[in-house]
Symmetry: C2
Subunit: 347 residues, 2 copies
Amino acid sequence: MTDPAGPPATPTPPTSAAVARRAGVSRATVSYVLNGRAAGRVAAHTQARVRAAAEELGYVPHAAARSLRAGRGSIVLMAAPADAVPAFGPLFSHFLAGFQSALHHLGYTGVLHGAPAASPVAAARAWAELRPAAVLALHGPPLDAPAVELLRRAGTAAVLTHGPQAPPGAHALFLDHREAGVLAGEHLLARGRRRIGVVLPAEPGLAAFAGSRLAGVRAAAAGCPGAEVRPLDLALTEESAARLAAAWPALGLDAVFAYNDEYAMLLMRALQDAGRTVGGDPEQIAVVGADDLLPARLLRPRLTSVRTEIAAPDRIAGLVDGLVRDPAAAPAVHRLGTFRLMARDSS
Amino acid sequence: MTDPAGPPATPTPPTSAAVARRAGVSRATVSYVLNGRAAGRVAAHTQARVRAAAEELGYVPHAAARSLRAGRGSIVLMAAPADAVPAFGPLFSHFLAGFQSALHHLGYTGVLHGAPAASPVAAARAWAELRPAAVLALHGPPLDAPAVELLRRAGTAAVLTHGPQAPPGAHALFLDHREAGVLAGEHLLARGRRRIGVVLPAEPGLAAFAGSRLAGVRAAAAGCPGAEVRPLDLALTEESAARLAAAWPALGLDAVFAYNDEYAMLLMRALQDAGRTVGGDPEQIAVVGADDLLPARLLRPRLTSVRTEIAAPDRIAGLVDGLVRDPAAAPAVHRLGTFRLMARDSS
């Protein structure tokens, strides 16, 4: 039954005009009732009749058509591919779930849009097709000025991009990964370490975060005479970790901030398998991870970790709602969270 | 500048009519050119003029309006809250990313929709507002008949729900978790174990999968005289695992299939901390996890794990495209993947 020339048209869904006919009222009345604006305008028994007609016909409002009439959409589009969600860590995915729920209670529909795009403008064009009220670019290259302009011209009231600043017309959502590096660096220096390695993951998509974390460790070390910071390339494989562990004596490092808990667990195991001892005593190698994952607490020694403290989802949803309602709001940088060091036995 | 009475209308985005005026052509011509159907209909230099006009005005087609004209939408809606994505494991989130990419190449926009809903019908109503061409219910309660009917009446050509069967008008996407239990059970029996615990996670949302995995272990044990299977409640906390480990001597179990690698790692560590030995020798406790996570290979002994082998994203995207093009296709059960046991030192 497949039609190679293109899909056949599906049956036309019931319209609000059909609901109006069945209930014997005007389309404006149907709109008032089904969009929750009937109070003081439409009698209770008429409201009941409209609802019954909509129910009988299986009528569902069309989000996009409604947004065209209302002058704004109800979609809040979060731009991040599905495989970036776990890369953010469980904390962030819990944030996203709470955020979707908070948006829902404010009358928005939060969707995660993860199609690949050749450029920020190409991505913005794909997002604009959904006529979102707000776009949050949470991952990938931050939005540039042409991408923001395209979204604004297509009617997106609030455009937020990640990073320390945003192009004209957009707001910034900022999680300062440099702070994670400062915390890890200060902790290791306070534990007497002076030759600190910092893991730069070989996996794609993490370079910007890793670079900021490295800069943070360097900033912490800058205030400490004799302290030295060295970037270390590591892929998330046992082979790569074994190679780094084998090179350890030549590197002469007494500590490592391993980007996150996964790289830290991998490297700690490889160092142990190579006969080195990880821990908090001065003659041991101190290891610090990040994300505070449960498995990292199951290794021995238990892993010290920099925990991300993400903002309350309700607060960010309220921020987005405010920006949608005030599309001309002055651009600002909004903090998405902070960091905290959880000291354990590995450092 | 906030307007408490409601958001102000944003500037009207440029329309295809404006593009037509600027290019000096009809709206039909604009539609042919911008929807890739101009070949043989519109001269090359006219196509170029239309594209230039669209570019100058910053015109972006409206996905929903286009879908109304074409008789079908371009949105493929995947229903799963963001925090379910990591719960599926990294394999599944990589699948989702590949799936979004494959949909993109077929001309669809894949979005992940995770708003909470009171019932399957309420969820379906929220999804229908986006007028999706296809809905894949990947998580939560499987869709029931009224939810499927609502989606079909709203114009959704293809409705797929997870589970072994689907209501009328929908297709099933099935990952048979019972198979994972059969594999774990058969492996433990072959390793000489006869008293097998099966972890049932206390965390919400996993009961259906856990029940199927338990049924699989029971099916494997049914063919083996003297074999006994016992469900074990476990929460994903160190306290819960310590309690279960303390009760172990009274349980008298010689093996455990721990739902997934996280529960397995947690329980293995608690058993070791309680002085028990985990491993493949007959006097040791055999532990099997699932998902084949990297950290599980970093513990000692290395964890045996049941790996999920998810179908190629291209294949599932092609399946969805076929169902959108043939909305009357006979309902069928489509397998989303299979399982494979990775035997290591813990069993």
